[in-house]
């Protein structure tokens, strides 16, 4: 949290002036009982109406000064907290933009979203409250005590006892209930996830006739939530009665002691009234302080989470200045290769074993490369090394003879069109989505890409054509339509290298085939990597790379592999069993 506060440095003035004005307001409030005391002791005692009138005028004046101070303070507090939040949000969002895939994998994106949104709001509220109240409440509490001491030492001792006792009770109950509230939250989460689970799995639950059983489970969890809620409730219900008792017993002691002091002629009646008023002020402020501390602890917890996110160090150097371990990138024979993998290994962060081991092959410009293998065999990992989504742990990957780590990241990625496995589109028009591929693309260029991707008919079928608005995630399109648009998006930039990561899984056979045909017509210009589980999608590739458990177990054309590579044959036969049997 501490480091986060450096973002307040532009608002130094506001964050000092805010609390200061709040303190000023509080100190004017502390004068009120004194004025009342003087009304009683001087005004009423002597029957001086003019004096009473002037004192009441002072009361209103104090109110006005208080109002002005407090409005000023609110303004400074609001300005500092809102500005602070803006800066932190900017810092965090831009930090997230600089993270590499490795960090995104370890942290998970959904928690980053929470940190940017709800955590951020908590911190802003917490800061705002702190600036407004954190000085005010203690100031009123201790101020009231000090004022009491200026009136009468012996009576003030009652304050000196009551305040610590009150604090112990207020903060004790708070400390006791905070962890319990966490337990309540955990139980509530349980109830919540059971509810959600029942909705997402409703078909399975009904297919297995588990409705009654689920009801019973839910009731059990719900009951245990209720029990703990009631338990916490009983504890926090103590707060008001206990503080009420303490304050009023202090008042009793005060009147008793006040009586003695007055009878000795040390105190006046008005001063006893003033002391009584101070006592009432203390209670209100202590309760406020306790609530404030709850908000602050929450805000600090959120702040710490934000800071933790800001402290993640991106492991990838984006400028490509890393004069890589380019020993391997020198061999002259690879000059012609568009892409070559030199003994590349990949080990993900936190993984104990390599996901890719000793990948070694090279590709000429314009070739189409098929990559096939079982789930988890490393297909996606392999193609991810080319745009440098991940860095190799050993060996190297060269694009046009140059280690990918020597390119500025943006320059490298601009050469490559990637179609990820999951077809993600963004809120906005189809055109806006296509411009992701190339900012300056004309409508003609976009239509060309859409035609190749077999997506022309989608756009033509939509009202407004390229201006058709997609919902978030492209929800108003079917899976197959989304997939074709993501392919078009990658093609718009006319990439040197096109990577299709199992990108036709949602397409029916006819569309898939038409797409492959269209891509083949381009392929002397671009190098294509095609990841697939279907042999039919890649059988016409110039070269097929067969992966098994992160290693290359076969490389070559379809017919070669059928005779030389057992894994490939097995995959092929599982898909074309009958045909293969007939041929044999």
């Amino acid at each position: 949290m501490k480091k986060l506060l450096t973002y307040l440095k532009d608002y130094k003035r506001e964050s000092i002036l805010g609390p200061l004005f709040k303190m000023l307001e509080a100190s004017f409030e502390l004068f009120v009982p004194l004025v009342i005391a003087s009304i009683i002791d001087v005004g009423i005692a002597s029957g001086d109406k003019g004096y009473i009138l002037s004192r009441c005028g002072i009361l209103i004046l104090l109110g006005i000064i208080g109002l002005v101070c407090s409005i000023t303070a609110q303004y400074f507090a609001a300005k500092a907290s809102v500005g602070f939040a803006k800066q932190v949000r900017h810092a965090l969002f831009s930090h997230i933009q600089s993270l590499s895939f490795t960090e995104l994998d370890t942290i998970g994106t959904s928690t980053l979203v929470t940190r940017l949104t709800s955590d951020m709001n908590q911190v802003q509220n917490g800061l705002n409250l702190t600036l407004r109240l954190f000085l005010r409440s203690p100031f009123v509490v201790f101020g009231a005590m000090i004022m009491a001491f200026t009136i009468d030492f012996k009576c003030a001792l009652i304050f000196a006892v009551a305040i610590p006792v009150l604090s112990v009770v207020v903060f004790g109950i708070m400390l006791l209930s905070i962890p319990l509230y966490k337990k309540v939250q955990a139980k509530l989460d349980q109830v919540l996830s059971r509810t959600r689970e029942n909705l997402t799995g409703v078909r399975v639950i009904r297919a297995f006739c588990k409705e009654e059983e689920e009801n019973i489970h839910f009731k059990e969890e719900n009951e245990s939530l209720t029990q703990i809620q009631k338990y916490v409730g009983r504890i926090s219900a103590l707060l008001n009665p206990l503080t009420y008792v303490i304050i009023n017993f202090a008042v009793i002691a005060l009147i008793h002691q006040g009586g003695i002091q007055v009878s000795l002629g040390i105190l006046s009646q008005g001063q006893v009234v003033a002391l009584y008023n101070y006592m009432s002020q203390i209670l209100i402020e202590l309760i406020k302080l306790a609530n404030l501390i709850i908000s602050i602890t929450k805000a600090v917890a959120c702040g710490n989470r934000i800071q933790a996110a800001l402290e993640i160090i991106p492991t990838m150097d984006r400028l490509g200045t890393a004069s890589a371990k380019s020993v391997l990138s020198q061999p002259g024979a690879q000059d012609v290769a568009a892409i070559s993998f030199c003994h590349a290994c990949l080990c993900y962060a936190n993984a104990s074993e390599n996901s890719l081991t000793d990948i070694n092959f090279s590709v000429k410009k314009g070739e189409t490369i098929g990559i096939i293998g079982g789930t988890g065999s490393g297909k996606t990992s392999l193609v991810g090394l080319i745009p440098r989504f991940y860095d190799v742990s050993q060996g190297s990957v060269l694009v046009n003879g140059k280690d990918v780590r020597e390119y500025p990241l943006e320059e490298l990625r601009n050469k490559i069109g990637v179609v990820p496995q999951k077809a993600v589109l963004f809120k906005g028009s189809i055109r806006e989505n296509m411009l992701w591929g190339k900012k300056s693309a004309s409508d003609a260029e976009i239509m060309e890409a859409l035609t190749i991707a077999q997506a022309k008919e989608i756009v033509e079928g939509k009202e407004g054509g390229l201006d058709y608005k997609l919902e978030q995630g492209g929800k108003n399109l079917s899976g197959g339509q989304r997939q074709r648009l993501t392919i078009a998006r990658a093609l718009v930039r006319k990439p040197e290298i096109l990577i299709l990561d199992d990108s036709s899984s949602a397409l029916d056979f006819a569309t898939d085939a038409a797409l492959r045909k269209a891509l083949r017509s381009l392929s002397d210009k671009i190098t294509v990597f095609m990841v697939s589980q279907r042999t039919s999608s890649i059988r016409h590739a110039d070269k097929i790379i067969v992966l098994d458990d992160g290693a290359i177990v076969g490389a070559g054309a379809h017919d070669e592999l059928l005779t030389s590579c057992e894994v490939y044959r097995e995959i092929y036969e599982s898909q074309f069993k009958k045909e293969a049997a007939e041929n044999a």
């Binding site: 009423i44 803006k86 949104t117 909705l199 939530l225 008023n277 079982g374 789930t375 992701w436 085939a513």
Partner: protein, 581 residues
């Protein structure tokens, strides 16, 4: 008017749910009334005590002691009652929440799938969790504060009137000012708050979309573009937040100022009355503390009313869910389907999700026991619709589906559904251990049976390697398992109970081809002698099917076996040939 009517209706329902707590409620109200009265009585006693402390030598110690004793007893009694009241209120609230949640959850099990399919699950969850919470909180806070607030106002009025009507009039006239001030500010800031929450929603939308898909953003080097859009919204958010927060935070200082004016006015009139010997100094002190107490509930009331309205709105949403029409109840004479042979016939079946969009029309299909039916067609052609009808997740609009000669609407849902084994496209596992997930269909299964089923589904080897084997705990989305492993578990689940009919919905699409070979073998064994409906992409499966149903845009356009369909040279033969391109 309409809004008010629904509110009254909702209120009635709330009261109905509270009925069984009537005794606690009366107790709570009683305690609240006593607490308020006693709390208000204390300042009077303190005032009397102060009156006994006049000046040096003029202090009535015996009198003071009496009064202080009285205060002590009253304070203790008040505290006790207050605690009891709080505890009772907590009890009522939390148990009400529990009741409503249980009711809602039970309802969930009875709602027709048509309702659940067209309401996002997030929305229903938020009704059962957030709305219920807000409703209860609002009710608790609203009810207690409204009641004690009004009681305090009335009580204070009575006590003040009993001391001096004139000063009371001053308080009564001036205090509502703070209410007006608060209302005025709230009205003026409403638009600012709306703008703030709209802008915030816009920003959250962007964050959500971009951060979750950060990898795509990076792949297309869109970081700077996105940053620009973010900053633009961020700057707008800053300025509208500042306005909303600052102007709304004026409420407290302003009402506080009104309160100080009231305080000064009471001080003035009180002191003057005291000079005229109409009231004592103790009475004045009493008045001053009342002036503070009287204004507080006034300031709170407007927020309490919004709180209550909000609570009622939440309650209305929950009751809407609870009162939704459930699926038609089981016919009283419903039969139990026992040892189904697997004979299914669809006779003139018509069905559509929306009346204006006819989907399945006049479908006739005869399935003999043990036959395999492959459902084929492009994505989104409505293949799952048929499954919805077979398992009676939805009812046909006209025509009938018979199993072993009986209309399925005359069978108990339980017996019909447990005669089917189903593996759906999106694998679903419940939170619990692997074992619990496997035995869903057969809770009494022995360890040997479980392992045998897992072996048959090729799941045993990976389960064994998990940290705690069959006792490994998995969460809702089974995040620690791969998609393929999850699917293997779902298959194991069906393997274990071996029902006479099977529904396999693209079941093996996310398992790699080599594993699939083994699974297909297991399935062959499983399907032997069992009627199976398979939604499949694999040609081999399709070719071996007894009947192929070709679907397009929700309609069944062709029906027959592989050879028949090929010779028809229709949609199917096109589809088939394209595979060979």
């Amino acid at each position: 008017m309409h809004k008010r009517q629904t509110q009254t209706k909702t209120l009635k329902k709330v009261l109905q749910h509270l009925k069984k707590y009537w005794f606690l409620m009366i107790l709570s109200i009683l305690f609240a009334a006593i607490t308020v009265a006693l709390t208000l009585y204390v300042p009077i006693l303190v005032g009397r005590g102060i009156d006994l402390i006049v000046d040096a030598g003029q202090v009535d110690f015996a009198g003071i002691r009496e009064i202080l004793k009285e205060i002590g007893i009253i304070v203790l009694a008040t505290a006790l009652l207050q605690w009891l009241m709080n505890t009772i209120n907590n009890k009522i609230t939390y148990q009400l929440v529990r009741d409503v949640r249980n009711e809602a959850f039970e309802k969930l099990q009875k709602l027709p799938l048509s309702y659940l399919d067209c309401h996002p699950s997030g929305e229903i969850v938020s009704r059962i969790i957030t709305d219920v919470d807000q409703f209860a909180d609002g009710l608790l806070i609203g009810f207690t504060q409204l009641f004690t607030g009004i009681a305090t106002i009335l009580g204070t009025l009575v006590f003040m009137l009993s001391i001096h009507p004139g000063i009371t009039a001053v308080v009564v006239v001036l205090t509502p000012l703070s209410l007006f001030v608060a209302k005025f500010i709230a009205k003026r800031t409403y638009d600012m708050f709306r703008l703030q929450s709209e802008t915030r929603a816009e920003q959250t939308g962007l964050i959500d979309e971009m951060v979750v898909n950060q990898k795509v953003v990076a792949a297309f080097s869109q970081e700077e573009e996105i940053m620009g859009r973010f900053d633009e919204i961020n700057t707008r958010l800053e300025s509208c937040s500042l306005k909303a927060i600052f102007f709304s935070s004026l409420t407290n200082p302003c009402t506080r100022f009104v309160n100080s004016v009231v305080y000064a006015a009471v001080g003035l009139t009180g002191a003057l009355a005291s000079v005229a010997a109409l009231i004592s100094v103790g009475d004045l002190s009493c008045f001053l503390s009342y002036a503070n107490q009287y204004t507080k509930p006034f300031n709170d009331i407007s927020s309490v009313i919004t709180e209550l309205q909000n609570a009622l709105a939440c309650a209305a949403r929950i009751f809407e869910l609870i009162e939704e029409t459930p699926q038609p109840p089981e016919a009283p004479e419903a039969l139990t389907l026992k040892n189904a042979s697997g004979k299914i016939s669809l006779e003139q079946v018509s069905f559509s999700y929306l009346p204006e969009k006819p989907l399945i029309e006049n479908l006739n299909l005869q399935v003999s026991p043990g036959q395999r039916i492959a459902i084929v067609g492009p994505t989104g052609c409505g293949k799952t619709t048929l499954i919805n009808l077979l398992m009676r997740f939805y009812d046909v609009n006209s025509g009938q589906i018979r199993t072993d000669g009986t209309d399925i609407r005359n069978l108990t849902r339980k017996s019909l559904r447990s005669s089917y084994g189903m593996v759906l496209q999106d694998t679903w596992l419940k939170t619990g251990t692997i074992r619990e997930n496997i035995i869903m269909g057969k809770p009494e299964a022995t360890e040997e049976e479980i392992i045998a089923a897992a072996k048959a589904a090729h799941a045993h080897s990976f389960i064994k390697r998990l940290p705690k084997g069959y006792n490994t705990f998995i969460t809702e989305d089974g995040a620690s398992l791969s998609q393929g492993q999850k699917q293997l578990l779902c298959i194991t689940r069906v393997m274990l109970c071996l029902p006479p009919m099977l529904i396999l919905d693209e079941a093996t699409s996310s398992i790699d081809t080599r594993t699939e070979v083994r699974i297909q073998k297991a399935f062959q064994r499983l399907m032997q002698g069992r009627t199976s409906f398979i939604v499949a992409h694999r040609l081999s499966t399709i070719r071996e099917a007894d009947i192929i149903l070709v679907m397009k845009d929700g309609h069944i356009i062709e029906q027959g076996n592989h050879e028949q369909l090929l010779s028809q040279k229709g949609f199917y033969s096109n589809l088939y040939l394209s595979q060979e391109l």
